[in-house]
Symmetry: C2
Subunit: 520 residues, 2 copies
């Protein structure tokens, strides 16, 4: 199927139902269908042919959702830009994609203007919710296009969007996802639920990212309604969960924690419609989960996947969470098991499967894989060699098929010939009562190649020395795994999904040194 | 996805749940997974490679379902045989497919033996539930295969089954359906429902036919349980609907009518779990629908499609039935509107779309279309020309997109240059109080090319003459549409789906004449 097929179906069968609400605005399925046809007509009028790229720079909004579906109709390929990146990074992506059109919301016009000279491929800049020199206003742009019946036949092997990987390593790469890959993924993970028409999905994870985009698509596939949050506000999320009849939402564990910590009355409220909270990007701490369950009284679900796999590869299901809390707390560290139609293996550096319990690279196969990276034949072939997506994540499988994501393969430290997975060390540091956050990296060493450095954040008011931290690890870790040095910082650099940017962390220590990484 | 992906997923997540029950036997998802792996090992042990054909001759049974899924694992292609055909017809199909293996249940062994000399491609005959000379017993066949881990990679573009069209015209043709086509269709029509884990599906329509096969697959995709009926017994169906917690079933209107007529206490019973009854093959009469709704107090749904489209192209949804009964009874004659991801058009003999309200051939496009007919490149290209499945059905679209299936294009009568659709005439004959059944065909005429003949069945005890029937049509039909002659018969020849076999009906009148048909 194509992405917009489900929207068209529900627009016909339940056209008056809400497709999305935001800040008091609402749009029905029928209105959304008409709006996406209108936008599609404007795309055609702008001369965009199937396969032409359109950059989008916006926080979560109704227009963002409509743009994905309008582009789907006419084969124009959205290139969602991460608004947290620097303008020069947007420019790099826009040029890499060769986008002919750039659509941005008011917040970003000035920043785009600052790099406009470097955006040679862009023929037209469209501003949503603002009037500015050099920008075509959104409404005028739509009004100017002659009404036309869109009659472009877009097959399901056409590219639906080009989404840039978050770039924890090197320059971002544009992952190409076809309609078939994304709609297959929607069908795959739908088997884990009992979808309900009209169910409300709170979407606060960003729509420029696979998590927010595919969550929105899943809601619309099921005839549900998006409750769109532009920014993350713990109080607004808790209020919506309690008062807006929300049935499902996707968050990251840090957001769940913020809801619990920053909203004092969260535990006193009732969440009568809430069926479950999905979370991703990292495992959830047992204490946070217990508190969240006591507060929200709903199911929890962890998703693991990446831009290159549409969205989901594995789920840690509600039943797994129940089992973890009953007698197997370690299961909460797992990312769960493959969803229907997905194969997952752990392989060594020669792509040979390793025994259960052995660490290696997580590779996966299924209909949800990307077609490749835009204009990167070599990296595409490398990432997809043998038909398996090489995730770059180190992981381990247990005998029941649960996968434990350990680290990015590139973050593995090779010290004196021994492989050290930072996550193993970090798990110990997280137990230290004075530490609020921690990341472990390899730093250059003339003797060992790399030695282990811990970069840590103290809890407010807590005190602790480098020697104490190292001593704490003794007995808890093998000698080659213990940090040799500890740096104290205010905060760790993280990407928008909450992952620590190890590459950024390493930079100051590696300037002038070449780092050899596994598989590279 | 591949067909078996959903079975494997549910076997892992709800392994103890029933996958199917029949006559007191039950098999769980976990057991079904193991059984299909066992059968798959036997298929490999028998030397069957991906793409090899396996003929299956059985009424509905647990083994039938398992065979589909076992074959799915290893790429062996089931060729389900219609058990209502004559043994010589089975032989024709087995030879056309070049089946290397034939699996049959006890009922059919003697009949197969009668044509065995003509089954040159079959290397092994396996008997389910019987011991007979020249047949390998099912259990022994499975036990003899060495236990093996099936590690064949079957992509979703592999053929899942080869199903012969019911052959209302000419020799049956083997339609090739891929995993992707069938699982796409499952995803397409699932959007019309809110699937429920553990829901019980009564399956009485035959599994050799798309209706019974795909209904079974849909149940398993949703983690439901099949309640398998080997033969249609109105009393057994009513009892199961009332007592077995059935949530859904698929029937043909004649079965619904039989349940109402043959089970006197049907209206006094309660059907607390029943969500809806799907029906296909033909529209439902308003009176039957009203009575069925009053009896079963559930929703009704009509499906239209064919072997060549996996299963479903259109649905007349419960809301459409409600609307029909409220103020638009004619809607019950419609087959509804396309399911998600399906395009449907009415075209003329040059494949040009015709205006709404104009009769023409129904063509459809979507991911659920067959790959083509086995070894029939010309007929495949003809059926799928331009990427559209040419259904061979005549139909008309209204302004709301509802399609009304009028007739097989080949059954259209050309009389004195006027096109007459038999359905129009039959609808009038059905109103005649003395007639229980009616079919209208063209018979050769030296002046007009063809003239119109009605073949009718009297109600028990009723009387009626040819002249009365023709007179009844006056004022109700145009002159060129009125029957010129009427034949009275005991019963009309129908195929297993309940469609009148016009070809058979015509034979006695056309011997020695050549009939020119539209599009041929």
């Amino acid at each position: 199927m194509r992405l917009h097929d489900a929207l068209d179906y529900h627009a016909r069968e339940r056209g008056d139902a809400d497709l999305a609400v935001q800040d008091g605005r609402r749009i029905s399925y029928r209105q959304a269908q008409a709006a996406t046809e209108r936008i599609a007509a404007a795309l055609i009028d702008a001369g965009l042919a199937p396969g032409d790229r359109m950059a989008v720079l916006s926080k979560n909004s109704i227009e963002y959702v409509l743009l994905y579906y309008a582009a789907s109709r006419v084969g124009v390929v959205p290139v969602p830009l991460n608004y947290r990146l620097a303008p020069a990074e947007w420019a790099w992506i826009v040029n890499d994609a060769g986008a002919r059109l750039l659509i941005a919301t008011a917040d970003y016009l000035a920043a785009v203007d600052g790099v406009r000279a470097g955006l040679g491929s862009v023929e037209r800049f469209v501003a949503v919710g603002a009037v500015a020199e050099g920008w075509t206003p959104w409404e005028a742009w739509l009004a100017a296009a002659p009404a036309t019946t869109v009659d472009r036949v877009i097959g399901d092997d056409h590219v639906l969007y080009q989404m840039y990987t978050s770039g924890t390593t090197g320059r971002p790469k544009g992952a190409l996802l076809t309609h078939r890959a994304v709609t297959s993924n929607l069908a795959q993970f739908a088997l884990a639920f009992e979808p309900r028409f009209g169910e409300r999905w709170l979407v606060v994870v960003p729509m420029y990212h696979a998590s927010g985009a595919v969550t929105s698509f899943a809601a619309i596939n099921g005839g549900g309604c998006l409750d769109i949050h532009r920014d993350f506000s713990p109080a607004a999320v808790v209020r919506a969960l309690a008062e807006e009849g929300i049935g499902r939402t996707s968050l990251v564990p840090a957001m769940i924690q913020a809801c619990l910590l920053a909203v004092p009355d969260a535990a006193e409220r009732a969440y009568p419609s809430l069926r479950f909270i999905a979370y991703g990007a990292s495992p959830i701490a047992e204490g946070t989960l217990r508190r969240a369950m006591a507060t929200f009284k709903c199911d929890f679900l962890q998703a693991y996947g990446m831009t290159e796999t549409s969205a989901v590869l594995t789920y840690l299901l509600p039943a797994d969470h129940a089992r973890a809390l009953a007698d197997k707390p370690g299961l909460l560290l797992s990312a769960g098991r493959p969803i229907a139609g997905t194969e997952l293996r752990i392989v060594d550096e020669q792509d040979r499967p390793v025994p259960n319990g052995t660490i290696g690279e997580i590779v996966a196969r299924g209909p949800q894989l990307m077609q490749g990276y835009w204009n990167r034949p070599q990296e595409s072939a490398e990432a997809l060699r043998g038909g398996w997506m090489h995730t770059g994540d180190a992981g381990v499988l247990d005998d029941e098929g649960y996968v434990y994501v350990q680290d990015r393969v590139r973050d593995m430290i090779v010290s004196g010939g021994e492989n050290v997975y930072p996550r193993v060390v970090e798990d110990v540091l997280f137990e230290h009562p004075a530490l609020a956050d921690a990341a472990v990296i390899g730093v250059p060493d003339p003797t060992w190649g790399e030695t282990i450095k811990a970069v840590v954040v103290l809890r407010p008011g807590a005190r602790c020395s480098e020697a104490e931290v190292i001593e704490f690890c003794r007995g808890r870790l093998g000698g080659f795994e213990r940090p040799r040095s500890v740096d104290f910082v205010e905060t760790l650099p993280r990407n928008p999904s909450g992952k620590v940017l190890k590459r950024v962390l390493r930079e100051q220590y590696w300037s002038g040194h070449a780092r050899r990484v596994a598989g590279a």
